[in-house]
């Protein structure tokens, strides 16, 4: 498949602070890719560079065939950005705002991809039909974010960027949102790059996860692939003759078979736990937050590598 986004040795430095120290990855057409990492790992910086909103310090970046730092309006017409708004357009209604902003895409309409989206359908997709004619100032935080998503996709983008899209969502809103993102990818073939610090969200949405830590990509794989790579020692717990036992073993299957051969029916409450991706990710986040980002990134890269 053809690469829609290509990033090579991307670097970003603010003053003396190196935020990105050499980021490499590709995104292929139609993929949903999650940029996962602890807060402050450089996710927002990376996505803003790809959106063309921020100028990088060094490296090569190509997004839909153009350098986003110098991309033209035609390029804009084919990309969508979901922004985190907080109080813009308070006197507008969702319908009015979507009609207004969608209008900019009309000159870029093609028979295959009519632009902009039908506004009523779009409002329905994000669940704002009932609120379509209310002032935006009266919307709740979650409703406002759904409007943000609608604004991001009103031009039927081929490539969509979302930065921490579900921050502040309640569980129901989050689930609805995941549905919208999946259907965009499945029915429209939209390529999607989103950032999150939530492993669970990455797991639910992404075809592929890019784990960003200490300014570089320390893992690039599917969630399952990442989990498999982490397969190391497993913990086996059991009770025999009223006594609780715990053992860390490299091959749990063989160990358990041997255990049954030896003790038979005396084995009770058997439990086998594998070190999960979640454990590894949490350890990484904790290290990062304690200020040992570099060490944490190395460790994670070793474990998964």
């Amino acid at each position: 498949m053809e690469a829609v986004v290509t990033v090579r040795d991307l670097r970003m430095r603010y003053g003396d602070n190196d935020v990105l120290t050499g980021v490499d990855f590709d995104i292929r057409r139609g993929e949903v890719v999650c940029l996962l990492g602890p807060n402050g790992a450089g996710k927002t910086t990376t996505i803003e560079i790809l959106e063309g909103f921020r100028i990088r310090s060094a490296g090569d970046v190509s997004v839909m065939g153009q350098d986003p730092a110098h991309a033209d309006d035609n390029w804009r017409a084919h990309t969508g950005v979901v922004l985190q708004s907080w109080r813009d357009h308070p006197r507008w209604t969702p319908r009015r705002l979507l009609t207004q902003l969608g209008g900019y895409f009309a000159p870029y309409s093609t028979p295959v991809r009519p632009r902009p989206h039908d506004i009523d359908l779009l409002l329905e997709t994000v669940g704002l039909t009932e609120l379509a004619d209310r002032k935006i100032a009266t919307l709740s935080g979650g409703q406002r974010r759904r409007l943000d998503v609608a604004v991001g996709i009103v031009g039927r983008p081929e490539l969509l960027f979302l930065d921490e899209p579900t921050a502040g969502f309640d569980p129901q809103a989050r689930r609805d949102f995941h549905g919208v993102v999946r259907s965009l990818a499945d029915s429209e073939g939209t390529t999607i790059l989103l950032t999150t610090h939530d492993l669970d969200e990455a797991e639910k949405l992404a075809d592929r996860v890019l784990l960003l830590a200490a300014g570089r990509i320390v893992a690039d794989d599917t969630v399952d692939g990442l989990a498999r790579r982490l397969e190391g020692e497993a913990q086996v717990r059991w009770t025999a003759a009223g006594q609780r036992h715990v053992e860390s073993v490299p091959d749990a299957t063989r160990f358990v078979r041997a255990l049954f051969d030896e003790l038979g029916d005396a084995v009770e409450d058997l439990e086998v736990r594998r070190a999960s991706l979640e454990d590894a990710y949490l350890a990484l986040v904790q290290q990062h937050e304690a200020g040992h980002g570099e060490a944490a990134a190395r460790l994670f890269a070793e474990v998964t590598g």
Partner: protein, 283 residues
Amino acid sequence: MNPTWNAVSLGLQRGWTEFVQSVRSTQDQGFYLFTAALAVGYLFLRRDTEVEGTDLLLPSVALPSILGALIAFGVIIGPAYALAMEKEDGTLLRHKAVPHGLQGYFTGQLLFQSLSLLPQMVVILVPSFLLFDDLMAEPSGWLTVAWVIVLGLLATMPIGMVIGALVPSTQKVGTWGMLPVMVLAGISGIFYPVQQLWEWVQVIAQVFPMYWIALGMRSAFLPEEAAALEIGGSWRTAETVAVLGTWAVVGAVVTPMVLRRMARRQTGSQVEAARDASLQWVR
């Protein structure tokens, strides 16, 4: 469909929508009525005061001057606040994320800010014409009012946009926009003849557009003899056109550059930082 013209037409729709929403908002109605009450109240209190050297009453002379000052004030402070706020709340960023969006956004601002003068003028003119006599010497003066307003808009709106683009935060519009414009109103012959001030202050006042807009308005409203009260005993129409025209040309050249620079620097992080800052008033 040409994307640029499409953007301009969307911008005009945007400006009109913003205007209608503003006129319907109690907040903005309150602002218009407040300025009107101040201006008309001042004129009413001094309704019997005679202007020295003429047979005119104070409202006749002061009304055009006040209108001139309000035009300059509204068209500088309005866009300055709008831009400062809309680069913080993400309005500008939204337009940066759509093709030709910034052209539409600035077209909308231009139309909205210009239209905003209408209710401002109406709420002052209507009660003034009901309360006071001899306000407009010749009906042909309305024609002068029209071109002075248009030229005044072109001369002053770029100043407001540049201030709005350059201020680091909305709270700073007070210091960098409001304060200088207030000082300018104080020295531009709005409430007393500029000749009463030191000569160097008069020079400063005549560098900026506010004095000339007010002078142009007086030339529109007052009879020919009243020109005797002005510097050089004349309305100096040619000079008015020259000074305001120069500001308009400089503004037309400089403003797009400043706005482009501002738009280039807009990022989501900046919007987020502004949101965090707004939650943290004490620093």
